[in-house]
Symmetry: C2
Subunit: 129 residues, 2 copies
DNA sequence: CAAAAAGGTTGACAAATGTAATCCTTTCTG
DNA sequence: CAGAAAGGATTACATTTGTCAACCTTTTTG
């Protein structure tokens, strides 16, 4: 369904809050956003409304307050965003990204080990099929 | 100087055109953007103006037309953007990004080999110091 | 030269984004 | 109960982004 799920900054914040734990009520989100973003109550309210319009989130009536949910899977959204970012910045090449980091000494020993592990696992996974 | 270099889509297009080859004249850019983005001449003109205001690009008077330059280094911009993307989507962890790709079978045999190579080189580089 | 193309500037408008104040209703709580 | 807090809807306004049309000047070219 949703093709172009592309979240802007503010939307990410709300989504992260929901992905971290679902559902949440208006006031819960208001408090969180006040903390993290310094948003006023109405700002959070407006975001919620707009995100419903885009069908990123929905709510169900709770006993007292509405319960906000998202049906988008974090993994999916993150993958999509990553792909489009990769396309923009690295012609779609993950290798190029990693390489850029490597070249600029952004990789610690630990990072390298971690990445090797990951690749190792990935290889095994490929062989399974 | 420039702290928050954060390019939007349209700005990327122009920047890519300049990074690919510098300097370029208005008309050169107009043609390229017409091709790639379907922009009208004035759209490209406006982008150029706005990007000058943000000091992403500048021009020098050429013999006839102005010559547009950018002083931003692609590497730098890309690194910054990557970091902020990584923060947003993966809590700053490159490993998590690669892992997500791996888990979702987005990595081909070739990708894996390439990445290994890169890590190998990165290790050697670290040892040098 | 006169028309066409290139070069360049302004003003404009819609949509998206960031941020909130107001106001109303329902529900707690001292 | 009466005031405070929670819950919610509306309206609003500035900025940024995406896109141009118009218009003017300078070059080029048939």
């Amino acid at each position: 369904m949703k093709e172009n799920i592309s979240l802007n900054n503010s939307e990410w914040c709300i989504m992260e809050a929901l992905w971290q734990e679902q559902p949440k009520t208006l006031m819960q989100l208001v408090y969180e956003m006040k903390e993290k973003q310094g948003w006023s109550k109405s700002t959070t309210g407006t975001m919620l409304r707009r995100m419903q319009e885009k069908a990123y989130i929905r709510f169900e009536e709770g006993e007292k307050a509405r319960l906000y949910f998202t049906d988008l899977k974090r993994e999916k959204v993150v993958l999509k965003e990553t792909e489009s970012f990769l396309n923009r910045a690295f012609g779609g090449s993950l290798g190029l990204l990693v390489n850029t980091f490597a070249e600029n000494n952004q990789l610690t020993e630990k990072d390298i080990e971690e990445l090797k592990q990951i690749l190792h696992k990935a290889e095994e996974k490929r062989e399974e099929n």
